[in-house]
């Protein structure tokens, strides 16, 4: 019995090790290949340690152009999805149960739609209106589903809102607009910041939807995927490494803010 227990424990340890190797080995190898002189990114054989690929990346004008495109798109996606997502969450919480169920299903439906279908549907609608693919359509297509995430995050925070605060302010003579601006919005602020962060990330990382509505634009993900097919060098790994570093820093910061707020919430609540 004890021996069987030890064997199963050993096997589980093996599985756990394999799982985390599976999780991190590809990323580690991709990162390491940045520093190999080999023209095709790899770690076998190691031909010499270099930083030349960072320099080559910095010289790549097309790459900078695609970074710019992605940032412009992300900016507008946040600008549009935050107000609409917030409005959607507010409407949802002020509806009766039956109507809410239907509206909710409609509102989360973009999350259950494959990304390519969202891109295609947006593309055909706007062609009918004489608008072709480009930054505008990328923003429209991405926003249509990123709003869902904003809505869900804001709605989650709204559930903890204490309506008596609003009533108190109203009875003290504040206008409804003022109550919204001075009480509800500040309360939602943490959720809005988190949602904005998530929206930027979702926008920059999107590929499936963007691919269909990009027109002649080349956002970052499209740039990387094209490079893979037309001539991959470790310069792309350098780009990947920088993006990973920024994402991880952002994620850690996000987690840090979230935990601090959770702690603050626990104190006041």
């Amino acid at each position: 019995m004890i021996r069987a227990d030890r064997i199963s424990r050993f096997l589980f340890g093996l599985y756990l090790a394999a799982f985390f190797v599976y999780l991190f080995a590809p990323l580690t190898i991709m990162a390491a290949a940045t520093f190999n002189t080999s023209r095709f990114p790899t770690v076998t054989p190691w031909q010499g340690t270099t930083l030349q690929w960072f320099a080559e990346l910095a010289r790549d004008r097309a790459m900078w152009q695609s970074v710019w495109t992605s940032l412009v798109v992300a900016f507008f996606v946040v600008l549009i999805s935050l107000p609409i997502g917030t409005a959607a969450a507010l409407i949802l919480t002020s509806l009766h149960a039956r109507a809410r169920g239907f509206l909710y299903a409609l509102m989360v439906s973009p999350l259950l739609t494959p990304g390519v279908v969202i891109g295609i549907a947006t593309l055909v609608l706007w062609r009918q209106l004489g608008v072709g693919g480009g930054v505008f359509l990328i923003v429209v297509a991405q926003t249509s589903f990123i709003i869902c995430y904003v809505m869900l995050m804001v709605a989650a925070r709204l559930q903890r809102f204490d309506r008596t605060q609003e009533e108190a302010a109203l009875s003290l003579g504040a206008s409804k607009l003022m109550v919204f601006r001075r009480i509800l919005l500040p309360f939602l602020r943490p959720a809005l910041i988190a949602a904005a962060f998530l929206a930027v990330l979702q926008s920059i990382e999107n590929y499936n939807t963007t691919l269909f509505v990009r027109g002649f634009e080349t956002p970052l993900t499209v740039f990387i995927a094209t490079k893979v097919r037309t001539g991959l060098t470790p310069a792309v790994n350098a780009l990947a490494l920088i993006m990973i570093a920024m994402t991880v820093l952002g994620a850690v910061a996000y987690e840090f803010v979230r935990r601090r707020q959770a702690a603050a919430g626990a104190r006041t609540g």
Binding site: S94, A99, P114, E205, I224, M243
Partner: protein, 293 residues
């Protein structure tokens, strides 16, 4: 709705309703309606649009049923996506169970952090990482040759590559729902089953999995949908013999120049995903509200 106006006043409430209407009608419903319209019309030169030939029909969808290669790729995508969901489940279940029932809070914290970091990184980069790892002269072949498991390099690009890349990409969508649902299982139930003589397999089959049914269904549904609609993994890790349905759709739009047929294929993909999602959730008695968490 009256409640909304009472709470925020006419001006603000109207702005909210207007914004949400713009989103749902203009960005969600209208595009899909237009896609259906495209799917049902023939592909005509501009001069004939609106003419006598421009009538609704199911021709574009029937074309998929008749064209042998496309039909085969469609069915392959369906079963391969189901297989991806199954493989992801097999990979994730033991870890989810361990995290939910056995891990100490310290282990749990570290494991969750380690799990989330790769998934903040974007899907194209994760796929690129696999592209490098699986290259013909790449590290995986070098390592396997080194150990002596194989004596000739293997061409991983193709079905194996796509499968590995997809399972990798969707681990978290499977792990978290299962973890959440196993977490609420009382340890006492597992102990009771063990005391009554149930084997480990039986405990999982008869106690843990039925309890975690909702989480398992949610994870599988999401993984299936993401896999069926994926374009990156098959495009980067695939080979000519492992084409994915999304690639066929892409070709109709940007190489075949027949948007109507492309829209019809996209519609088929959408209906497939909706049917699978809703049917599975219904079977597992999961509410849509619980899924979005």
């Amino acid at each position: 709705m009256a409640e909304l106006y009472r709470r925020f006043g006419g001006g603000l409430a109207t702005v909210f309703v207007g914004l949400v209407f713009l989103w749902l009608a203009g960005m969600v419903l209208a595009p899909n309606v237009m896609m259906i319209d495209y799917a049902l019309r023939p592909n005509l030169p501009p001069a004939q649009v609106g003419g006598p030939d421009d009538v609704y029909s199911l021709d574009n969808i029937l074309y998929l049923a008749k064209e042998g290669v496309h039909r085969a790729i469609f069915f392959k995508t369906v079963w391969a996506s189901a297989f991806v969901a199954f493989a992801t489940f097999v990979v994730c279940y033991p870890l989810a169970y361990w995290l939910a029932q056995h891990a100490t809070p310290g282990q749990l914290g570290i494991a969750l952090l380690a799990l989330t970091i790769p998934f903040w990184i974007n899907e194209v980069l994760r796929t690129l990482a696999w592209y490098i790892l699986l290259a013909f002269r790449g590290p995986l072949n070098a390592a396997l040759l080194g150990i002596g498991i194989i004596d000739q390099p293997v061409r991983w690009y193709g079905n194996a590559g796509v499968l590995a890349g997809m399972v990798y990409a969707y681990i978290l969508f499977m792990l978290f729902p299962i973890y959440n649902s196993i977490e609420s299982l009382e340890k006492a139930q597992i102990e009771a089953a063990r005391d009554l003589g149930a084997s480990t397999w039986r405990i999982h089959w008869r106690v843990v999995m039925p309890h975690a049914k909702a989480g398992i269904a949610t994870g599988c549904v999401f993984t299936f949908m993401l896999a069926a609609g994926s374009y990156v993994a098959p495009a980067l890790l695939g080979a000519p013999g492992s084409r994915w349905f999304t690639e066929i759709i892409y070709n109709w739009f940007f190489e075949g120049g027949d948007w109507n047929r492309g829209a019809a294929y996209a519609l088929v993909l959408l209906v497939l995903c909706l049917v699978v999602v809703l049917a599975t959730l219904k079977l597992a008695r999961v509410n849509l509200t619980d899924v979005a968490k």
